[in-house]
């Protein structure tokens, strides 16, 4: 695929020995550690800070959900169904009289958890496979790369739907499906990074010293691959939340009564005219969280890899 080739191209540029030499310029070392530098650049990036604040807000909303609201998320109050926003019901009530704000707050837990676990799973498996493929090459690379090709041959949400169709609709299965569709994204990224790292002189030196493969991977390859992985993980966090919401919307994710934003939108669909607030609140929440992760991801990319800056 085109993208991969382009990646490898830039990876090779990054791996240019002359540039690596510059990294160890004594003056640079005197300055500050790369992580501190990244953090400093990130805090100077206004958009990344806004993104970070949005995410913190939703994390706090999820954690403090039971304290912020007197209602339970499954509590029905049929007398007060489809009530507009008021002091009593901040974001109104839905078609069976559940408080929208309460469900939104508890929904934040679900969405952030799905994002976290799906991305962690994809990251662990994708990175491992990518390292194995890139480091050992030959037939192992052939097999793993073809598996990635096949997984990427499906539009991602379609593959997720297929997996859920096999496993049955539930939160866990939606999570597994989202993790699987994101594995090749991490896998390819890491693979191309490892392939360029493999040819570096310090890796050859480590090999010449008799260092074992496992140690080389853990001490040299992995630490030098973290920057692109972190950027991708942040961006994937947003996509995973979008994908989870899509599955929830199609009724293939979390099952009721657990509140999930996508599913709340599916419920709201039939009451658009009567109660637009049931439609607006969950939609805006999904958008803000995804926007937050995108802003942080863009900021991280600019900070970690100045070459990719627009």
């Amino acid at each position: 695929m085109l993208l991969k080739d382009k990646d490898e191209h830039t990876e090779q540029q990054i791996a240019n020995p002359a540039k690596v030499g510059q990294q160890f310029d004594p003056e640079e070392i005197d300055a500050i550690s790369p992580w501190k530098d990244t953090l400093r650049q990130l805090t100077r990036n206004r958009f990344a800070v806004i993104g970070f604040m949005i995410i913190v807000l939703f994390v706090l909303l999820g954690i403090a959900a039971p304290l912020l609201t007197p209602y339970a998320y499954q509590e029905q109050n049929l007398v007060n169904r489809l009530q507009p926003p008021s002091a009593e019901y901040w974001f109104g009530t839905d078609h069976i009289g559940r408080d929208v704000f309460t469900r939104l707050a508890f929904g934040a837990r679900v969405s952030l958890q799905v994002g976290f676990f799906a991305v962690s799973g994809a990251l662990i498996f994708g990175t491992s496979l990518g390292i194995i493929a890139g480091y050992f090459g030959r037939w192992i690379d052939m097999i793993i790369s073809r598996i990635f090709d096949i997984l990427l041959a499906f539009p991602s949400i379609l593959l997720a739907i297929a997996i859920v169709a096999i496993l049955g609709p539930s939160l866990e299965n939606a999570l597994i499906a989202i993790a699987i569709i994101n594995i090749p994204i991490f896998g390819r990224l890491v693979r191309s990074r490892v392939i360029s790292l493999r040819e570096e002189e310090y890796i050859m030196a480590a090999k010449a010293q008799g260092m074992k493969n496992g140690r080389i991977i853990l001490h040299h390859i992995l630490p030098n691959s973290t920057a692109p992985i972190i950027v991708q993980a942040t961006l994937s966090f947003g996509t995973a939340i979008l994908e989870a919401a899509a599955l929830g919307f199609l009724g293939l994710g979390v099952q009721p009564p657990t509140p999930e934003w996508g599913q709340m939108l599916a419920d709201a669909r039939d009451f658009i005219q009567l109660a637009p607030w049931t439609l607006i609140a969950p939609g805006v929440s999904i958008m803000l969280v995804v926007l937050g992760f995108n802003l942080i991801g863009d900021g991280l990319r600019d900070a970690l890899d100045p070459k990719m800056k627009n």
Partner: protein, 340 residues
């Protein structure tokens, strides 16, 4: 130097050969959809209350009693002969009923893509032209929100505002359901033109507006961002300085000289968006009751119509792979420096 035609031919052949393992892998996955269902697939399909006889019949019918590799062999042979199986719900051959759905999705994605490219490319160009002005900031803010928005939410908001509150555009379907078109190609815009029924063309185009915008917004945002950064890059190059020195106006510089080179990375992005579109089509079609292939698969899931799920997914993935192939070939044609 080798003949350009030979190079292209060799390249295309190599890409086609590389496609074989991917296609086989895809069929393996769609084959597994039925066979990885926990428990007895026939039981799952027919539900808890099915009689033992009905289950045995279905197993026989679907060939579930054979060993896996035999079943996979039969599945592949059938596929190669163009047999996509039989829908359990409609009892008719999937290969004969799938075309209208594909055409519906195709029509929708084409219009979505036209919207995405036209607005995205122009917004990107103007943003680059007027860099750091209010237009640039506004366009990029909209683009940023566009990539973060769930397709289905945008679709629902459109329905609420433009169909229900304002009543400007229809919220459901491809046409007035009381007055269906006599379909020829199943591309309704084309069909209505063939019939020379231009009032109908307008109606059909009106039905296309909301779903196309919903589906096209994410690609539009991505294309706009890509065009802007690519344009800024090209505008810094030496040949643009030369054109400027020649005294050409800004408009001519941008649209005649810069655009061609700036479009190379944009074209890649456009190709990659095909997957987003086909995936997004499932959600958009569900919301707008658009009788496309995404909705065909989605409805099959609720009816546990596994042959349709299998073949529908396979067909979408196949289209996706083909689009990627075509984009790669076009890409090489536009920029011969690319080596694979």
């Amino acid at each position: 130097m080798e003949d350009w035609g030979d190079v292209m031919f060799a390249y295309i052949m190599r890409r086609l050969l590389m496609l074989i393992p991917v296609l086989l892998g895809m069929t393996l996955i769609t084959f597994s959809i039925v066979h990885l269902i926990p428990g007895n697939p026939a039981q799952v399909i027919l539900g808890e209350t099915a009689s033992a006889q009905a289950i045995a019949d279905l197993e026989e019918n679907m060939g579930l009693t054979e060993p896996y590799f035999v079943q996979y062999g039969i599945y592949l042979t059938d596929l190669l002969q163009g047999d996509l199986g039989t829908s359990l719900r409609s009892k008719s051959a999937i290969s004969s009923e799938i075309w209208p759905y594909i055409a519906a999705t195709f029509e929708l994605t084409v219009f979505a893509m036209l919207f995405a490219i036209f607005i995205g490319v122009n917004a990107g160009i103007i943003s680059a032209w007027k860099q750091n002005t209010w237009f640039d900031y506004l366009a990029m803010l909209i683009a940023l929100i566009g990539v973060s928005m769930p397709v289905f939410w945008l679709a629902l908001m459109e329905q609420w505002v433009f169909a229900q509150e304002l009543g400007w555009l229809p919220a459901y379907g491809r046409q007035e359901s009381r007055d269906p078109i006599a379909a020829i190609t199943h591309f309704y815009v084309l069909d209505s033109l063939i019939h020379l029924d231009f009032d109908r063309t307008v109606t059909i185009l009106k039905h296309l507006v909301l779903p196309s915008i919903a589906l096209g917004t994410i690609p539009m945002a991505i294309i706009a961002r890509m065009t802007r950064s690519s344009m800024l890059e090209v505008m810094k190059s030496d040949y643009i300085r030369t054109v400027r020195a020649k005294g050409s106006g800004q408009f001519l510089i941008i649209y005649k000289h810069a655009l061609k080179n700036a479009m190379i990375p944009v074209l890649t992005v456009i190709g990659l968006q095909a997957g987003v579109l086909l995936g997004g089509a499932i959600l958009t079609e569900t919301i707008f009751s658009w009788p496309g292939i995404g909705r065909y698969v989605y409805e099959a899931i609720s009816y546990r119509d596994y042959p349709v799920i299998q073949s529908g997914i396979l067909v979408i993935a196949f289209i996706f792979v083909m689009i990627n192939l075509i984009v790669d070939i076009l890409y090489k044609k536009i920029d011969p420096r690319i080596k694979y």
